[in-house]
Structure formats: structure tokens, C-alpha cells
Symmetry: C2
Subunit: 197 residues, 2 copies
């Protein structure tokens, strides 16, 4: 027989970071007392599933097209910050240090896992650079193996775009960090990228 509780537990375990134990806890907390949160949650999940789509400009997830960032005339139009994911974009936004546009790749290159350039929003970036005048492209993929190779790949691919400056976000000791606890690779990079003060 169909058991709605077991069915929901099974679906929840397909979410990232949710095991059977936490799925069970979630289901029984939804069933304890008032059912308001469960109804709101059901509606909110359907809402994002039905109404949130990719922005045709920057591939951000949004209910409008273009998304609110691309539609904002106050954002610099000739700068694009390329990030791997929407949460990465939100992190750059929180820094309040950037006022241009974004392009979300929705991943980073990992050929062994089948993530080739065709799986990322690379074609969309190329098309965008063809129809828009862009002065600078900041490669803000993560400083991981995948993120670095994605940055390298894009730099080579876009090297021939006329008048386009391609930059990479700096890696180094994080603010508030302690040299004692920083990994060797980061420290080596921070020394190499030292600047006059």
C-alpha cells in the first residue's frame, strides 16, 4: 500500500545533504501540531518549480526574464562577472564590491564526471559577448581544480574577442586569516601575488 509518510521520506533523501534520519525528523516535525508550515512549503516548492526559470541574458534563476539584476539600469553594462552558481553570485553581491552584470555557468568543468563545456552555459556567454559590448570579464569561478580549469578554458576561448579584458579574482590569505593555519598552496600563491604597499 502507498504510505504517504514513507514516500515523502524517500523523496526528501534525494535532496543534497538529507539522509534517511534527517528526512524522518523533517517529516515528523511537519506533522507535529499545526500543518501550516507543510502547506506553505508545498506551495513554495511548486511555486519555484513552475515560475523560476533561467534569465535569457545571464542564466540567473529568476521568475522574470530578464532577471532583476539584468533589468537594473544602474548596474554597469560592460562588465560581466562569471561565476559557477547562483549562490556564488549571491556571495559576490553580499560583498557589495561589484556593480556590474553576472553570467552564471551552472557548474565548473569536470570532464571525468561528464561536465564538458557543452553542459555549462558557455555558448550563452559567447552569444552574449557577440551581441553586447563588454569591456571586462571577471572570471570568478572558485579557486578549486575545476574552477581554475574552467577559468583557464574560458580565457583561451575568449582570448580573441576584440577589446575584452579578461581578469581573474585574486587568491590569497582570507581577511582575518592566520598564516599558521593557511594551506601551503594558498600561502605560496599569496607570496607570489605580493604587491607593493
Amino acid at each position: 500500500m502507498h504510505d504517504p509518510i514513507l514516500h515523502l521520506i524517500r523523496l526528501l533523501t534525494r535532496l543534497p545533504g538529507v539522509g534517511e534520519r534527517s528526512a524522518t525528523r523533517i517529516v515528523f516535525s511537519l506533522l507535529a501540531g499545526e500543518r501550516e508550515l507543510a502547506r506553505d512549503l508545498s506551495a513554495a516548492i511548486l511555486d519555484v518549480a513552475e515560475h523560476v526559470h533561467l534569465c535569457s541574458e545571464c542564466c540567473n534563476l529568476s521568475q522574470q526574464d530578464p532577471c532583476s539584476l539584468c533589468a537594473d539600469p544602474k548596474r554597469e553594462q560592460d562588465m560581466i562577472c562569471v561565476v559557477e552558481t547562483v549562490p556564488d553570485m549571491m556571495a559576490v553581491e553580499r560583498s557589495k564590491a561589484y556593480h556590474g552584470r553576472y553570467h552564471i555557468l551552472h557548474g565548473a568543468l569536470a570532464p571525468l564526471e561528464g561536465i564538458t563545456p557543452e553542459k555549462l552555459k558557455v555558448r550563452e556567454l559567447l552569444q552574449r559577448l557577440q551581441r553586447t559590448d563588454v569591456r571586462e570579464l571577471i572570471l570568478a569561478t572558485n579557486p578549486t581544480v575545476e574552477g581554475e580549469s574552467t577559468a583557464l578554458y574560458l580565457r583561451k576561448l575568449l582570448a580573441s574577442v576584440p577589446g575584452l579584458r579578461i581578469t581573474r579574482i585574486a587568491t590569497g590569505i582570507p581577511k582575518g586569516g592566520d598564516l599558521e593555519f593557511i594551506d601551503r598552496a594558498t600561502l605560496a600563491q599569496a607570496l607570489e601575488a605580493r604587491r607593493e604597499i
Copy 2:
């Protein structure tokens, strides 16, 4: 403006064990690629919210009333195992060592947090004992401060029920456990409750 993504993230953080970071991960995983899982999840949550209720016999969560356990004629009718929660009941079921009925209290006594007997399904247990002939009541609340005081409270409350044997599950060294790593209280309890072999 209403942002469906932020709204869903906020709702998810109200679930147990889900912080903002994991809520964000969940939402973007739901939005990656096919929206099938999101639609199924939304429907499944609504399904439990609308159709899962308390069994009027044992207070189990079920879409039928009585629940499938209470409706099963093969389960011993004159034994009731009292547990704190539905997952606790599921754990006892997995042991395959018990073939009677259950009673789910939906919590344990914690007067400082406002969880008094009235907040638990104690009245339902009393009414059940009045209308049904029960031979043995196994108190299987957890061996924690709250669970022990709940067991003690129920033992006193039900002491006068004629012909009712009240038992408590054993505490001791778990199977496969190592004395070296067992806490002192458990070890003391295991020594005290030693049996002839």
C-alpha cells in the same frame, strides 16, 4: 517584491537541522535541470499534511483510522508498548522482537519546557486502558532524564489499574559495545541489572 527562491529558503530553514546554507543548496538542486522532483515533493508534502492524522487508538500517524498496526488482527491485542515518538516505534518494529500494539506519547515529560502530561497522549492511554483488556504495558520511553521521568510518572499513574503488568525496557551495554567506551551511568546500570546465566 516577493522572491519565490528566498521565500522557499526561509521556509526550509524552519525545518529541524536545516540551516540557511543547506536550504540554499536544496533549493538550487531542486531548480537544476528537471523540475520533476520539486513537483513530486510539493505533492507529497501536501499529501501528508492533508491525509495523515493521529490513529484514534494508538496515536500513530497514519492515513487510515485505525492505523494499519491497530487494524492488524495478528498483533497481540493485550500488550501495549509505550514509546515517545513514531520513529521510536519504527525502531522497535525494525527489531522484529515485538508483536503487540503501541501507544505513541508524542514526546516526553519536560516540565521546564512546558511539556506536562496534558501535552502528551496520556489521557488517550488512560481511556484506552479503560476500554481494552491489556495484560502488559511496556514502557519504552528513552533512557534519558525526560524518558525516565515519563516512565516513572506513568508507572505511578497506572499502578492501580487492576491486572496490568507494567514493565520497562532494559538499559545496559549495547550489543557490540565496548566496556572501555561506555559511559559510567550505563555501566553501573548494567552491573546492577546483571542476570544469572
